[in-house]
């Protein structure tokens, strides 16, 4: 065969590992779900009969916690890339614990919402308040899947299966964790601006 017709070994695609592509596509589907919720929220609000509510201050604290958790995850990722496994381990554990704190914080924020007369269901509820619970609840569900992912990666780190030449799992976990953190910050800002 003539050399000018020879081909590269395989089509390179996007240059990403298939698992990375799978994750990015799943992230897109989660984005669409929240796009549906938040656009439904706006459409519904503009139709009137919308009860204003106060966002509990505890949500700000939760937002700071999730941001710190994301920062710690990034630190773990960068450390793993430099083969500093102990730091990667520490970073991951901090990210995991802060993630748990965030979930507990969200649970207490539910209490604050009820205390502020914003209900999920029942005769005193208005869709405005119900939306807040749905947004927080569905986000929390995805955050649990993120925590499971982090735990799996932590187990791999403890077995020394994550290092500068095996970055796929921790890279994907970091991407997903940043996405979930960013998603929460978006939801928080959205609720701040549109309550």
């Amino acid at each position: 065969m003539n050399p000018s017709e020879t081909l590269s070994e395989k089509e390179i695609g996007l240059g990403w590992h298939p698992k990375r592509v799978l994750l990015v596509l799943l992230i897109f589907s989660i984005v669409m779900m929240f796009a549906a919720f938040t656009s439904g929220y706006i459409v519904r609000r503009d139709e009137g009969n919308w009860r204003e509510f106060d966002l509990p201050a505890s949500l700000l604290i939760n937002s700071i916690i999730i941001a710190l958790s994301s920062a710690s995850m990034q630190w773990a990722f960068l450390s793993a890339r430099k083969d500093e496994i102990v730091r990667a381990k520490t970073g991951l554990i901090i990210a995991l614990v802060l993630g748990l704190f965030f979930l507990v914080g969200q649970y207490f924020s539910f209490g604050d919402l009820v205390a502020g007369n914003t209900y999920f269901g029942g005769a005193d509820a208005n869709p405005s308040g119900s939306f807040v619970y749905v947004l927080m609840g569905v986000h929390a569900f995805h955050l649990v899947t993120g925590l499971v992912f982090l735990a799996v990666v932590l187990r791999r780190v403890l077995k020394y299966q994550v290092h500068s030449r095996a970055m796929l799992s921790i890279g994907n976990a970091t991407l997903y964790w940043h996405f979930l953190g960013g998603l929460w910050l978006y939801l928080y800002l959205f609720l701040l601006l549109n309550h």
Partner: protein, 628 residues
């Protein structure tokens, strides 16, 4: 599968393919180790090989068989309500042994009639034409046609089938509960679907419907991300995006539509679940039932329609686009001509995909929307006629002066084009808000979408099954029975749905259990009887296909490696396919998939894996430059 040693037909030189011509076959060397790999897969336990298989071909067949079973259920339900519509005064006592309590005093229960229509729609749209069509062929064809050993994640692919199976079991079980299955229409509009007090079908049946659909959406997402990743990442050497068969382009874009639209249905379903069971009022407001005011305040049922149709409209393209892709492939192969306008075909698929997200409100012209908004959606809707027209003209131009071989698959592909034209033209009528408001609740709409989406997608499905059956099961289906099946179905579809347009224009309302109370519609009694007879004959005609399908799996004529003399990669695999698809190295790709009847070529087709250096006589100047 172990009774035959795989004999890859990859020997150098020219090989007889039987039939019209022979194609040059590329020289591919494969190592000794490959047969050893093959051997290991034969030791699998049958449970892992046939049930919890991670092999894309096995999963594709699982989707196909499940889809066929669902199609029988869906078709049976439609025959039942056609009996009611055709003979509204007739007795149905003879169905009592089957339907039990749903027959009261010899009449079909009106609540059950609504449930029949609802379940027919749900089953056909989601379980047959989404899972059964794109689930089957995306799974089966993507790795084979892009030159991959399997999907990106075999495990997620297996989960995709089993979530679908779970969803199927739940939906099927809802047919047998005392209050009956969901009965609020396949679009499950609240408040009817949200309030168990409203109709019996909004009780446990609706709950099962929603739970089933949640699993269905999970299944679609797991499958969809796999299809897209496989197409992006696992293409073989040389298989650039501009050398992909149109089937793959169609599956690829279908999967993207699914990934972007099914989560929105999930959101809508979740909010509906909260409204039904947790006391929220997203879609409920100011409702009185039996003189009692409900406490729900502030909800908007139109919001549900927006969320639903944001999925619902892309969904109809999820149903039709795989059929379009397969039809393009079948038409080109059997017309022995390159597909006309390959790039325009890709462009129109992309155009349809993008437009499908911005036209959803044309299903909602009668919700009292702002007329200006309506005209925006009308404008966007009518634009879809442009890419659809491009596709139709390209299919017709592909057939034009082709050396047509009327295989059963080809007949169904041509039938698809016919139905897509007939049904598409009425789409232009219904896309106009003013006309739609007039026709919306008549049989005109029913006739329109059954032609353009229902029947056309079914024809695509049949074309695909007849065409790729040899690759799936290593045997051929019977052509004669295929012809009988085609003509019964083709005539049946038109005899059912053409009269429906007519009664629809006359104002005959859809969703009505009985129309005998209205003098205006009594004159259509004969027409309704005619439609019912045609529908039942067409339904019975499908059993010819079923016999042919299952008989041929076990007793059909043995297939050759490339029975249709086709160019795409799946026909370079051995007849008996193992896990991993190619026993040796995966073939590389050098040319586009439509080199049929190329001037100067000895054979009338040149497979994608034949380098230009082996086809000097037929190379175009720019192709010759690649080898010089």
């Amino acid at each position: 599968m172990s009774d035959m040693t795989p004999k890859p037909n990859l020997s150098p030189g020219v090989q007889t393919q039987g039939g019209i011509g022979s194609a040059p076959v590329p020289v591919i060397e494969h190592g000794e180790h490959s047969l050893h790999d093959e051997h290991e897969h034969h030791d699998q336990h049958w449970l892992w090989k046939y049930v919890f298989s991670q092999d894309h071909k096995q999963i594709g067949k699982q989707f196909l068989i499940t889809g066929i079973l669902w199609a029988i259920v869906g078709g049976t339900l439609s025959s039942l309500f056609r009996l009611q519509l055709g003979w509204p005064e007739g007795t149905m006592e003879w169905l009592k042994p089957v339907l039990g309590g749903w027959i009261q005093a010899g009449k079909l229960n009106p609540e059950f009639y609504l449930a029949l229509v609802t379940m027919h729609g749900t089953i056909m749209v989601f379980f047959v034409l989404t899972a059964g069509l794109s689930g089957t062929f995306s799974n089966f064809l993507i790795p084979l046609q892009v030159g991959a050993r399997d999907m990106a994640s075999g495990f997620m692919n297996m989960l995709s089938y089993w979530f679908f199976f779970l969803s199927s079991v739940i939906m099927f079980s809802s047919l047998f509960i005392e209050t009956g299955p969901a009965a609020a229409g396949w679009t499950i509009y609240p408040p009817l679907s949200a309030l168990p007090q409203a109709i019996p079908g909004s009780g446990a049946g609706m709950t099962l419907w929603l739970v089933s659909m949640v699993f269905f959406i999970v299944s679609q997402l797991l499958g969809g991300v796999n299809y897209v990743t496989t197409v992006i990442n696992l293409r073989t050497r040389g298989m650039s995006m501009s050398k992909l068969p149109l089937t793959i382009w169609a599956f690829f874009l279908t999967a993207i539509l699914g990934i972007l639209s099914f989560p929105v249905l999930f959101s809508a379903a979740l909010l509906l679940v909260f409204d039904r069971s947790f006391g929220t009022s997203f879609f409920l407001s100011d409702i009185y039932i039996a003189g009692q005011a409900l406490s729900n305040q502030g909800g908007s049922p139109v919001l549900f329609q927006h969320l639903f149709w944001f999925l619902g409209h892309p969904e109809v393209y999820i149903v039709i686009m795989p059929a379009m892709g397969m039809v393009s492939e079948v038409l080109a192969t059997n017309a022995r001509k390159p597909i006309f306008g390959y790039r325009a075909m890709i462009g129109s698929l992309i155009g349809i995909s993008m437009l499908s997200f911005v036209v959803w409100a044309h299903h909602m012209f009668v919700t009292g929307m702002n007329p200006f908004l309506g005209s925006v959606f009308m404008f966007l809707t009518l634009i879809i006629a442009v890419p659809s027209g491009v596709k139709v003209f390209n299919w017709l131009a592909t057939l034009w002066r082709g050396n047509i071989r009327f295989t059963a698959a080809m007949l169904f592909a041509i039938g698809f084009v016919s139905l897509f034209i007939s049904g598409g033209l009425t789409g232009i009528i219904l896309g106009n808000a003013t006309l739609d408001i007039q026709m919306h609740n008549t049989y005109f709409v029913v006739a329109h979408f059954h032609l353009v989406m229902g029947s056309a997608a079914f024809f695509g499905l049949y074309a695909g099954v007849y065409h790729w059956f040899p690759k799936m099961f290593g045997r051929m289906m019977d052509e004669k029975l295929g012809y009988i099946h085609f003509w019964l179905t083709f005539a049946g579809v038109y005899l059912v749905f053409l009269p429906m347009h007519y009664v629809g224009i006359a104002g005959f309302p859809r969703r009505y259990y009985a129309w005998t109370g209205f003098d205006a519609f009594s004159q259509f009694a004969d027409m309704n009887k005619f439609i019912s007879i045609a529908a039942i004959i067409a339904f019975l005609g499908q059993f010819i296909f079923l016999f042919n399908f299952f008989y041929s799996i076990f007793r059909g004529r043995r297939a050759t490696q490339n029975p249709w003399n086709s160019t795409t990669l799946e026909w370079t695999t051995p007849v008996e396919l193992g896990h991993g698809n190619w026993p040796g190295e995966i073939p590389a790709v050098y040319r586009w998939p439509y080199d049929y009847s190329k001037p100067g070529s000895e054979s009338d087709f040149i497979p994608q894996n034949v380098p230009y250096s082996q086809t000097k006589s037929s190379n175009l100047p720019y192709e010759q430059e690649l080898v010089d």
